[in-house]
Protein backbone atom coordinates (compact mmCIF):
# COMPACT_ATOMS: atom_id res chain seq x y z
CA UNK A 1 0.00 0.00 0.00
CA UNK A 2 2.99 2.30 0.40
CA UNK A 3 2.83 3.46 -3.19
CA UNK A 4 -0.86 4.26 -3.19
CA UNK A 5 -1.84 7.90 -3.34
CA UNK A 6 -5.56 8.49 -3.45
CA UNK A 7 -7.82 5.48 -3.00
CA UNK A 8 -11.59 5.67 -3.31
CA UNK A 9 -13.46 2.40 -2.72
CA UNK A 10 -17.19 2.19 -3.50
CA UNK A 11 -17.46 5.77 -2.28
CA UNK A 12 -21.06 6.97 -2.03
CA UNK A 13 -22.51 10.15 -0.63
CA UNK A 14 -26.21 10.86 -0.81
CA UNK A 15 -28.07 13.89 0.45
CA UNK A 16 -31.62 13.48 1.66
CA UNK A 17 -34.00 16.39 1.57
CA UNK A 18 -37.77 16.78 1.40
CA UNK A 19 -37.52 16.54 -2.38
CA UNK A 20 -35.98 13.08 -2.10
CA UNK A 21 -32.53 11.53 -2.07
CA UNK A 22 -29.80 12.79 -4.37
CA UNK A 23 -26.74 10.65 -5.08
CA UNK A 24 -24.01 13.30 -5.16
CA UNK A 25 -21.36 10.59 -5.42
CA UNK A 26 -22.35 7.09 -6.43
CA UNK A 27 -20.17 4.03 -5.96
CA UNK A 28 -16.91 5.64 -7.09
CA UNK A 29 -13.71 3.61 -7.31
CA UNK A 30 -10.39 5.24 -8.06
CA UNK A 31 -6.73 4.74 -7.34
CA UNK A 32 -3.70 6.91 -8.08
CA UNK A 33 -0.01 6.47 -7.24
CA UNK A 34 1.66 8.42 -4.46
CA UNK A 35 2.95 11.82 -5.52
CA UNK A 36 0.68 12.08 -8.56
CA UNK A 37 -1.53 14.97 -9.60
CA UNK A 38 -5.18 14.01 -10.01
CA UNK A 39 -7.87 16.29 -11.39
CA UNK A 40 -11.57 15.70 -10.87
CA UNK A 41 -13.10 17.23 -13.98
CA UNK A 42 -16.80 17.68 -14.57
CA UNK A 43 -19.78 20.02 -14.73
CA UNK A 44 -21.20 21.52 -11.54
CA UNK A 45 -23.21 19.03 -9.55
CA UNK A 46 -21.17 15.99 -10.60
CA UNK A 47 -19.92 15.42 -7.07
CA UNK A 48 -16.31 16.42 -7.63
CA UNK A 49 -16.27 18.90 -4.76
CA UNK A 50 -18.03 16.39 -2.53
CA UNK A 51 -15.22 13.87 -3.12
CA UNK A 52 -12.64 16.52 -2.26
CA UNK A 53 -14.54 17.49 0.88
CA UNK A 54 -14.68 13.86 1.98
CA UNK A 55 -10.94 13.45 1.40
CA UNK A 56 -10.26 16.64 3.40
CA UNK A 57 -12.47 15.40 6.25
CA UNK A 58 -15.05 18.15 5.76
CA UNK A 59 -17.78 15.69 4.85
CA UNK A 60 -18.40 12.01 5.60
CA UNK A 61 -19.37 9.39 3.03
CA UNK A 62 -22.71 7.61 3.24
CA UNK A 63 -20.84 4.39 2.48
CA UNK A 64 -17.50 3.34 1.09
CA UNK A 65 -14.04 4.59 1.94
CA UNK A 66 -11.63 7.33 0.95
CA UNK A 67 -7.96 7.25 1.89
CA UNK A 68 -4.75 9.02 0.92
CA UNK A 69 -1.46 7.20 1.49
CA UNK A 70 -3.57 4.56 3.23
CA UNK A 71 -4.74 7.07 5.84
CA UNK A 72 -8.32 8.03 6.59
CA UNK A 73 -9.13 11.77 6.48
CA UNK A 74 -9.01 11.95 10.30
CA UNK A 75 -5.63 10.20 10.41
CA UNK A 76 -4.38 12.41 7.61
CA UNK A 77 -5.28 15.50 9.60
CA UNK A 78 -3.29 14.24 12.58
CA UNK A 79 -0.22 13.93 10.35
CA UNK A 80 -0.36 17.72 9.97
CA UNK A 81 1.05 17.59 6.48
CA UNK A 82 -1.82 18.50 4.25
CA UNK A 83 -2.57 21.69 2.38
CA UNK A 84 -5.84 23.11 1.08
CA UNK A 85 -6.81 25.97 -1.22
CA UNK A 86 -10.29 26.98 -2.31
CA UNK A 87 -11.83 29.05 -5.07
CA UNK A 88 -12.53 31.72 -2.48
CA UNK A 89 -9.03 32.59 -1.27
CA UNK A 90 -10.39 32.68 2.32
CA UNK A 91 -7.61 35.00 3.47
CA UNK A 92 -8.14 36.76 6.78
CA UNK A 93 -8.33 40.51 6.03
CA UNK A 94 -6.82 41.65 9.33
CA UNK A 95 -3.71 39.51 8.88
CA UNK A 96 -0.79 40.49 6.70
CA UNK A 97 0.15 38.30 3.75
CA UNK A 98 2.91 36.70 5.80
CA UNK A 99 0.67 36.06 8.80
CA UNK A 100 -1.95 34.50 6.52
CA UNK A 101 0.66 32.07 5.24
CA UNK A 102 1.56 31.27 8.88
CA UNK A 103 -2.06 30.55 9.74
CA UNK A 104 -1.99 26.74 9.07
CA UNK A 105 0.88 26.36 11.57
CA UNK A 106 -1.19 28.05 14.26
CA UNK A 107 -4.34 26.05 13.53
CA UNK A 108 -2.47 22.76 13.33
CA UNK A 109 -0.52 23.60 16.50
CA UNK A 110 2.88 23.32 14.87
CA UNK A 111 5.77 25.76 15.51
CA UNK A 112 5.99 28.32 12.69
CA UNK A 113 8.81 27.64 10.23
CA UNK A 114 9.62 31.30 9.57
CA UNK A 115 12.39 30.63 7.07
CA UNK A 116 10.09 28.43 4.99
CA UNK A 117 7.29 31.01 5.14
CA UNK A 118 9.51 33.72 3.73
CA UNK A 119 10.91 31.31 1.16
CA UNK A 120 7.33 30.49 0.13
CA UNK A 121 6.53 34.16 -0.32
CA UNK A 122 9.55 34.37 -2.58
CA UNK A 123 8.40 31.30 -4.53
CA UNK A 124 5.05 32.92 -5.31
CA UNK A 125 6.73 36.26 -6.04
CA UNK A 126 5.25 38.16 -3.12
CA UNK A 127 8.28 38.71 -0.86
CA UNK A 128 7.88 42.48 -1.10
CA UNK A 129 4.20 42.20 -0.12
CA UNK A 130 4.80 40.26 3.12
CA UNK A 131 3.37 43.06 5.26
CA UNK A 132 0.52 44.03 2.91
CA UNK A 133 -3.06 43.18 3.75
CA UNK A 134 -4.95 40.85 1.39
CA UNK A 135 -7.41 43.60 0.44
CA UNK A 136 -4.54 45.68 -0.88
CA UNK A 137 -3.68 42.98 -3.45
CA UNK A 138 -5.13 42.04 -6.82
CA UNK A 139 -7.23 38.89 -7.25
CA UNK A 140 -4.32 36.95 -8.75
CA UNK A 141 -1.97 37.96 -5.97
CA UNK A 142 -4.50 36.90 -3.34
CA UNK A 143 -4.78 33.50 -4.96
CA UNK A 144 -0.97 33.22 -4.91
CA UNK A 145 -1.03 33.87 -1.18
CA UNK A 146 -3.68 31.18 -0.89
CA UNK A 147 -1.39 28.71 -2.73
CA UNK A 148 1.57 29.69 -0.55
CA UNK A 149 -0.58 29.07 2.50
CA UNK A 150 -1.59 25.65 1.15
CA UNK A 151 2.11 24.74 0.94
CA UNK A 152 2.93 26.09 4.41
CA UNK A 153 3.04 22.77 6.22
CA UNK A 154 5.21 21.21 3.44
CA UNK A 155 2.22 19.02 2.69
CA UNK A 156 2.54 15.50 1.41
CA UNK A 157 -1.11 15.82 0.37
CA UNK A 158 -2.62 18.81 -1.39
CA UNK A 159 -6.32 19.51 -1.98
CA UNK A 160 -7.24 22.27 -4.42
CA UNK A 161 -10.86 23.23 -5.06
CA UNK A 162 -10.93 25.32 -8.25
CA UNK A 163 -8.11 27.44 -6.87
CA UNK A 164 -8.04 29.78 -9.87
CA UNK A 165 -11.70 29.53 -10.81
CA UNK A 166 -12.48 33.14 -10.05
CA UNK A 167 -9.62 34.59 -12.07
CA UNK A 168 -9.38 35.82 -15.65
CA UNK A 169 -7.90 33.47 -18.25
CA UNK A 170 -4.49 35.10 -18.55
CA UNK A 171 -3.87 35.22 -14.83
CA UNK A 172 -5.12 31.70 -14.53
CA UNK A 173 -2.72 30.46 -17.21
CA UNK A 174 0.22 32.10 -15.48
CA UNK A 175 -0.73 30.74 -12.08
CA UNK A 176 -1.11 27.23 -13.51
CA UNK A 177 2.51 27.41 -14.67
CA UNK A 178 3.56 28.56 -11.21
CA UNK A 179 1.50 25.86 -9.55
CA UNK A 180 3.19 23.19 -11.68
CA UNK A 181 6.62 24.50 -10.72
CA UNK A 182 5.75 24.55 -7.01
CA UNK A 183 4.10 21.14 -7.19
CA UNK A 184 7.14 19.58 -8.88
CA UNK A 185 9.29 20.79 -5.99
CA UNK A 186 6.94 19.47 -3.31
CA UNK A 187 6.10 15.99 -4.66
CA UNK A 188 2.74 16.09 -2.92
CA UNK A 189 -0.10 13.75 -3.80
CA UNK A 190 -2.56 16.26 -5.20
CA UNK A 191 -6.27 16.30 -5.90
CA UNK A 192 -7.65 19.29 -7.80
CA UNK A 193 -11.29 19.97 -8.56
CA UNK A 194 -11.86 21.93 -11.75
CA UNK A 195 -14.22 22.50 -14.64
CA UNK A 196 -11.42 23.75 -16.89
CA UNK A 197 -10.55 21.02 -19.42
CA UNK A 198 -7.26 22.54 -20.61
CA UNK A 199 -6.23 23.32 -17.06
CA UNK A 200 -6.92 19.74 -15.96
CA UNK A 201 -4.91 18.23 -18.84
CA UNK A 202 -2.09 20.73 -18.42
CA UNK A 203 -1.52 20.11 -14.73
CA UNK A 204 -2.48 16.48 -14.15
CA UNK A 205 -1.05 13.01 -14.32
CA UNK A 206 -4.60 11.67 -14.18
CA UNK A 207 -7.85 13.33 -15.15
CA UNK A 208 -10.98 11.70 -13.76
CA UNK A 209 -13.86 12.81 -15.99
CA UNK A 210 -17.11 12.83 -14.04
CA UNK A 211 -20.78 13.00 -14.94
CA UNK A 212 -23.66 14.15 -12.75
CA UNK A 213 -26.88 12.59 -11.42
CA UNK A 214 -25.69 10.31 -10.02
CA UNK A 215 -22.10 11.53 -9.63
CA UNK A 216 -19.82 8.92 -11.15
CA UNK A 217 -16.44 8.74 -12.82
CA UNK A 218 -16.81 8.04 -16.54
CA UNK A 219 -13.17 7.42 -17.23
CA UNK A 220 -9.75 8.19 -15.83
CA UNK A 221 -7.42 9.54 -18.51
CA UNK A 222 -3.72 9.14 -17.88
CA UNK A 223 -1.90 12.20 -19.18
CA UNK A 224 1.45 11.00 -20.45
CA UNK A 225 3.14 14.31 -21.24
CA UNK A 226 6.67 15.25 -20.12
CA UNK A 227 7.22 17.80 -17.37
CA UNK A 228 7.81 20.62 -16.96
CA UNK A 229 4.97 21.36 -19.33
CA UNK A 230 5.15 24.68 -21.12
CA UNK A 231 2.70 27.01 -22.83
CA UNK A 232 4.04 25.73 -26.16
CA UNK A 233 2.95 22.24 -25.24
CA UNK A 234 -0.62 23.44 -25.29
CA UNK A 235 -0.51 23.83 -29.08
CA UNK A 236 0.85 20.32 -29.75
CA UNK A 237 -1.34 17.55 -31.21
CA UNK A 238 -0.64 15.34 -28.16
CA UNK A 239 -2.09 17.94 -25.83
CA UNK A 240 -5.11 18.40 -28.10
CA UNK A 241 -5.64 14.67 -28.22
CA UNK A 242 -6.11 14.59 -24.43
CA UNK A 243 -8.31 17.71 -24.44
CA UNK A 244 -10.47 16.21 -27.21
CA UNK A 245 -10.77 12.93 -25.35
CA UNK A 246 -11.89 14.69 -22.14
CA UNK A 247 -14.30 16.91 -24.08
CA UNK A 248 -15.81 13.90 -25.78
CA UNK A 249 -16.35 12.17 -22.44
CA UNK A 250 -17.89 15.28 -20.93
CA UNK A 251 -20.40 15.93 -23.71
CA UNK A 252 -21.40 12.44 -24.84
Amino acid sequence: MTDTGVQLSALTRSFTSRAGTVQAVSDVDLQTPKGSFLSLLGPSGCGKSTILRILAGLDTPTSGEATVHGLSPAELRKEKSLGVAFQDHALLPWRSVEKNVRFPFEVAGVPVDKAWVSELLGLVGLESFADAKPWQLSGGMRQRVSIARALALRPSVLFLDEPFGALDDMTRQRLNLELQRLWMEQEATTVMVTHGIQEAVFLSDYVAVMSPRPGTIKEVIEIDLPRPRTIDLMSTPEFHHYVDRATQLLFH
Binding site: R53, A56, G57, L58, R77, K78, K80, L82, V84, F86, Q87, D88, H89, A90, L91, L92, P93, W94, F103, P104, E106, V107, A108, G109, K133, P134, W135, Q136, R142, L153, F159
Partner: protein
Protein backbone atom coordinates in the same frame (compact mmCIF):
# COMPACT_ATOMS: atom_id res chain seq x y z
CA UNK B 1 -11.61 72.04 -6.37
CA UNK B 2 -11.02 68.51 -7.50
CA UNK B 3 -7.29 69.08 -7.99
CA UNK B 4 -6.68 69.59 -4.27
CA UNK B 5 -9.10 67.61 -2.22
CA UNK B 6 -9.33 68.00 1.53
CA UNK B 7 -8.27 65.04 3.68
CA UNK B 8 -11.09 62.84 4.96
CA UNK B 9 -10.90 63.98 8.56
CA UNK B 10 -11.13 67.62 7.50
CA UNK B 11 -14.25 66.89 5.45
CA UNK B 12 -15.80 65.10 8.43
CA UNK B 13 -14.94 67.99 10.73
CA UNK B 14 -16.35 70.57 8.32
CA UNK B 15 -19.61 68.75 7.69
CA UNK B 16 -20.06 68.16 11.41
CA UNK B 17 -19.55 71.87 12.10
CA UNK B 18 -22.00 72.86 9.37
CA UNK B 19 -24.59 70.45 10.79
CA UNK B 20 -24.10 71.94 14.23
CA UNK B 21 -24.48 75.51 12.93
CA UNK B 22 -27.63 74.62 10.98
CA UNK B 23 -29.14 72.93 14.05
CA UNK B 24 -28.34 75.80 16.42
CA UNK B 25 -29.44 78.46 13.95
CA UNK B 26 -32.70 76.57 13.36
CA UNK B 27 -33.31 76.36 17.09
CA UNK B 28 -32.53 80.03 17.58
CA UNK B 29 -34.71 81.16 14.64
CA UNK B 30 -37.64 78.90 15.56
CA UNK B 31 -37.87 80.66 18.91
CA UNK B 32 -37.10 84.25 17.91
CA UNK B 33 -39.39 84.21 14.84
CA UNK B 34 -42.41 82.78 16.68
CA UNK B 35 -44.48 84.12 19.55
CA UNK B 36 -43.55 81.46 22.11
CA UNK B 37 -42.92 82.69 25.63
CA UNK B 38 -39.27 83.68 26.15
CA UNK B 39 -39.75 82.78 29.81
CA UNK B 40 -40.50 79.13 29.00
CA UNK B 41 -38.38 78.64 25.92
CA UNK B 42 -34.69 79.29 25.74
CA UNK B 43 -32.45 79.70 22.73
CA UNK B 44 -28.91 78.40 22.19
CA UNK B 45 -27.74 81.88 23.18
CA UNK B 46 -29.63 81.58 26.47
CA UNK B 47 -27.93 78.24 27.13
CA UNK B 48 -24.60 79.86 26.36
CA UNK B 49 -25.43 82.69 28.74
CA UNK B 50 -26.52 80.23 31.40
CA UNK B 51 -23.18 78.49 31.20
CA UNK B 52 -20.81 81.40 30.72
CA UNK B 53 -22.34 84.85 31.48
CA UNK B 54 -22.55 86.18 35.03
CA UNK B 55 -25.91 87.62 36.10
CA UNK B 56 -27.94 86.16 33.28
CA UNK B 57 -29.59 83.55 35.47
CA UNK B 58 -29.90 82.58 39.10
CA UNK B 59 -27.48 81.97 40.84
CA UNK B 60 -25.73 85.06 39.55
CA UNK B 61 -22.26 83.54 39.11
CA UNK B 62 -21.92 81.47 35.93
CA UNK B 63 -19.09 79.55 37.56
CA UNK B 64 -21.46 78.54 40.34
CA UNK B 65 -24.05 77.36 37.82
CA UNK B 66 -21.42 75.30 36.04
CA UNK B 67 -20.27 73.88 39.35
CA UNK B 68 -23.83 72.63 39.97
CA UNK B 69 -24.10 71.11 36.51
CA UNK B 70 -20.82 69.24 36.56
CA UNK B 71 -21.69 66.63 39.22
CA UNK B 72 -24.98 65.94 37.39
CA UNK B 73 -23.04 65.18 34.23
CA UNK B 74 -20.73 62.97 36.26
CA UNK B 75 -23.61 60.96 37.68
CA UNK B 76 -25.27 60.49 34.28
CA UNK B 77 -21.98 59.46 32.68
CA UNK B 78 -21.48 56.95 35.48
CA UNK B 79 -24.97 55.50 35.01
CA UNK B 80 -24.55 55.39 31.23
CA UNK B 81 -21.06 53.91 31.53
CA UNK B 82 -22.14 51.13 33.87
CA UNK B 83 -25.16 50.44 31.65
CA UNK B 84 -23.00 50.34 28.55
CA UNK B 85 -20.47 47.99 30.14
CA UNK B 86 -23.27 45.74 31.37
CA UNK B 87 -25.18 45.70 28.09
CA UNK B 88 -22.09 45.26 25.93
CA UNK B 89 -20.77 42.34 28.03
CA UNK B 90 -24.14 40.65 28.00
CA UNK B 91 -24.60 41.27 24.26
CA UNK B 92 -21.14 39.91 23.46
CA UNK B 93 -21.56 36.81 25.59
CA UNK B 94 -25.06 36.28 24.22
CA UNK B 95 -23.90 36.59 20.62
CA UNK B 96 -21.02 34.13 21.17
CA UNK B 97 -23.21 31.58 22.95
CA UNK B 98 -25.88 31.86 20.25
CA UNK B 99 -23.29 31.39 17.52
CA UNK B 100 -21.99 28.23 19.19
CA UNK B 101 -25.32 26.60 20.06
CA UNK B 102 -28.29 26.55 17.72
CA UNK B 103 -30.55 25.35 20.51
CA UNK B 104 -29.68 28.34 22.68
CA UNK B 105 -30.19 30.61 19.69
CA UNK B 106 -33.59 29.15 18.87
CA UNK B 107 -34.65 29.46 22.50
CA UNK B 108 -33.36 32.88 23.45
CA UNK B 109 -33.49 34.91 20.24
CA UNK B 110 -37.32 35.09 20.25
CA UNK B 111 -37.22 36.20 23.89
CA UNK B 112 -34.70 38.92 23.05
CA UNK B 113 -36.84 40.00 20.12
CA UNK B 114 -39.96 40.22 22.27
CA UNK B 115 -38.09 42.13 24.98
CA UNK B 116 -36.92 44.54 22.31
CA UNK B 117 -40.51 45.40 21.38
CA UNK B 118 -41.46 46.32 24.97
CA UNK B 119 -41.13 50.11 25.38
CA UNK B 120 -38.38 51.01 27.81
CA UNK B 121 -40.75 53.25 29.75
CA UNK B 122 -43.03 50.25 30.36
CA UNK B 123 -40.17 48.00 31.39
CA UNK B 124 -38.56 50.53 33.72
CA UNK B 125 -41.05 50.27 36.62
CA UNK B 126 -40.68 46.48 36.59
CA UNK B 127 -36.90 46.77 36.79
CA UNK B 128 -37.30 49.33 39.57
CA UNK B 129 -39.66 47.02 41.46
CA UNK B 130 -37.10 44.23 41.32
CA UNK B 131 -33.84 46.10 41.94
CA UNK B 132 -34.97 49.26 43.74
CA UNK B 133 -33.29 52.63 43.35
CA UNK B 134 -29.59 52.53 42.66
CA UNK B 135 -26.87 51.79 40.20
CA UNK B 136 -28.10 48.25 39.50
CA UNK B 137 -31.43 49.55 38.20
CA UNK B 138 -29.59 52.20 36.19
CA UNK B 139 -27.32 49.54 34.72
CA UNK B 140 -30.22 47.28 33.80
CA UNK B 141 -32.31 50.05 32.21
CA UNK B 142 -29.36 51.52 30.31
CA UNK B 143 -28.11 48.01 29.54
CA UNK B 144 -31.39 46.98 27.92
CA UNK B 145 -30.93 49.48 25.09
CA UNK B 146 -27.28 48.44 24.66
CA UNK B 147 -27.78 44.72 24.78
CA UNK B 148 -29.95 44.24 21.71
CA UNK B 149 -27.98 46.18 19.09
CA UNK B 150 -24.82 44.46 20.32
CA UNK B 151 -26.41 41.01 20.27
CA UNK B 152 -27.69 41.40 16.72
CA UNK B 153 -24.65 43.13 15.25
CA UNK B 154 -22.00 40.95 16.87
CA UNK B 155 -24.15 37.93 16.05
CA UNK B 156 -24.10 38.91 12.39
CA UNK B 157 -20.35 39.55 12.62
CA UNK B 158 -19.62 36.11 14.06
CA UNK B 159 -21.45 34.58 11.12
CA UNK B 160 -19.75 36.83 8.59
CA UNK B 161 -16.72 34.61 8.02
CA UNK B 162 -17.17 32.76 4.74
CA UNK B 163 -17.77 29.03 4.47
CA UNK B 164 -14.39 28.52 2.86
CA UNK B 165 -12.67 30.14 5.85
CA UNK B 166 -14.54 27.83 8.21
CA UNK B 167 -13.56 24.83 6.03
CA UNK B 168 -9.96 25.99 6.04
CA UNK B 169 -9.79 25.96 9.84
CA UNK B 170 -11.52 22.57 10.02
CA UNK B 171 -9.29 21.04 7.35
CA UNK B 172 -6.19 21.99 9.36
CA UNK B 173 -7.71 20.38 12.43
CA UNK B 174 -8.89 23.57 14.17
CA UNK B 175 -11.75 23.17 16.65
CA UNK B 176 -14.65 25.37 17.69
CA UNK B 177 -12.56 27.59 19.98
CA UNK B 178 -9.86 28.11 17.36
CA UNK B 179 -12.52 29.14 14.87
CA UNK B 180 -14.07 31.51 17.41
CA UNK B 181 -10.87 33.24 18.48
CA UNK B 182 -8.88 33.22 15.26
CA UNK B 183 -11.67 33.87 12.77
CA UNK B 184 -15.09 34.73 14.15
CA UNK B 185 -14.27 37.29 16.84
CA UNK B 186 -11.78 39.27 14.72
CA UNK B 187 -14.18 39.35 11.79
CA UNK B 188 -16.95 40.58 14.11
CA UNK B 189 -14.93 43.66 15.07
CA UNK B 190 -16.46 46.05 12.48
CA UNK B 191 -19.90 44.78 13.51
CA UNK B 192 -19.12 45.45 17.16
CA UNK B 193 -18.55 49.10 16.32
CA UNK B 194 -21.72 49.24 14.23
CA UNK B 195 -23.60 48.04 17.31
CA UNK B 196 -21.80 50.48 19.61
CA UNK B 197 -22.73 53.39 17.35
CA UNK B 198 -26.37 52.65 18.07
CA UNK B 199 -25.88 51.60 21.68
CA UNK B 200 -23.62 54.32 23.11
CA UNK B 201 -25.91 57.33 22.46
CA UNK B 202 -28.97 55.27 23.42
CA UNK B 203 -27.36 54.43 26.76
CA UNK B 204 -27.08 58.13 27.60
CA UNK B 205 -30.82 58.62 26.98
CA UNK B 206 -31.67 55.48 28.93
CA UNK B 207 -29.53 56.60 31.88
CA UNK B 208 -31.33 59.95 31.80
CA UNK B 209 -34.66 58.16 31.72
CA UNK B 210 -33.72 56.11 34.79
CA UNK B 211 -32.77 59.28 36.65
CA UNK B 212 -35.89 61.08 35.50
CA UNK B 213 -38.10 58.28 36.84
CA UNK B 214 -36.39 56.90 39.91
CA UNK B 215 -33.49 59.04 41.08
CA UNK B 216 -32.68 62.42 42.65
CA UNK B 217 -29.33 62.67 40.95
CA UNK B 218 -28.03 63.17 37.45
CA UNK B 219 -29.20 65.13 34.43
CA UNK B 220 -32.49 63.25 34.18
CA UNK B 221 -33.54 63.85 37.78
CA UNK B 222 -32.73 67.54 37.51
CA UNK B 223 -34.81 67.84 34.34
CA UNK B 224 -37.76 67.12 36.58
CA UNK B 225 -36.77 69.31 39.51
CA UNK B 226 -35.71 72.27 37.38
CA UNK B 227 -39.13 72.21 35.77
CA UNK B 228 -40.94 72.11 39.10
CA UNK B 229 -38.82 75.06 40.28
CA UNK B 230 -39.56 76.82 36.97
CA UNK B 231 -35.80 77.07 36.44
CA UNK B 232 -36.12 77.08 32.65
CA UNK B 233 -32.56 78.23 32.06
CA UNK B 234 -31.31 75.10 33.79
CA UNK B 235 -33.93 72.92 32.10
CA UNK B 236 -32.87 73.91 28.59
CA UNK B 237 -29.21 73.68 29.51
CA UNK B 238 -29.79 70.14 30.81
CA UNK B 239 -31.52 69.14 27.59
CA UNK B 240 -28.71 70.61 25.49
CA UNK B 241 -26.13 68.88 27.69
CA UNK B 242 -27.85 65.51 27.38
CA UNK B 243 -27.92 65.80 23.60
CA UNK B 244 -24.27 66.89 23.57
CA UNK B 245 -23.33 63.87 25.70
CA UNK B 246 -25.17 61.46 23.39
CA UNK B 247 -23.46 62.98 20.36
CA UNK B 248 -20.09 62.85 22.12
CA UNK B 249 -20.67 59.17 22.90
CA UNK B 250 -21.31 58.55 19.22
CA UNK B 251 -18.25 60.56 18.22
CA UNK B 252 -16.09 58.65 20.66
CA UNK B 253 -17.20 55.33 19.17
CA UNK B 254 -16.46 56.59 15.64
CA UNK B 255 -13.01 57.71 16.74
CA UNK B 256 -12.30 54.41 18.46
CA UNK B 257 -13.54 52.57 15.38
CA UNK B 258 -11.13 54.47 13.13
CA UNK B 259 -8.24 53.73 15.47
CA UNK B 260 -9.00 50.04 15.88
CA UNK B 261 -10.04 49.16 12.33
CA UNK B 262 -7.48 51.24 10.46
CA UNK B 263 -5.08 48.91 8.66
CA UNK B 264 -6.95 45.81 9.80
CA UNK B 265 -9.93 46.10 7.52
CA UNK B 266 -10.29 47.69 4.10
CA UNK B 267 -11.45 51.30 4.34
CA UNK B 268 -15.04 51.76 3.18
CA UNK B 269 -13.97 53.83 0.21
CA UNK B 270 -11.85 50.93 -1.03
CA UNK B 271 -14.79 48.56 -0.64
CA UNK B 272 -17.01 50.81 -2.72
CA UNK B 273 -14.36 51.01 -5.42
CA UNK B 274 -13.76 47.30 -5.61
CA UNK B 275 -17.30 46.19 -4.93
CA UNK B 276 -15.84 43.35 -2.94
CA UNK B 277 -15.73 42.78 0.77
CA UNK B 278 -12.64 40.66 1.00
Amino acid sequence: MSARRLPRWAVTLLTTLVTLVVLLAGWQLAITLTDVSPYLTKTPLDVWNYLFVDGAFDPASAAERRAELLPMIGVTLFHAGVGLAFGVSLGLVGAVVMSVSRTVRATFLPIALVLQTVPLIAMAPVVYAVFGSGVVTAAVIAGVVTFFPLLMNVGAGLGAAGGDTVDLVRAYGGGRLRLLFSVQLPSALPYLFAGLKIAAPATVSAATLYEFLFSFEGLGANLLTSKSYSDYGLLWTLVATTIALALAAYGLVVLLERLVLAGRFPPESALARRGDSR
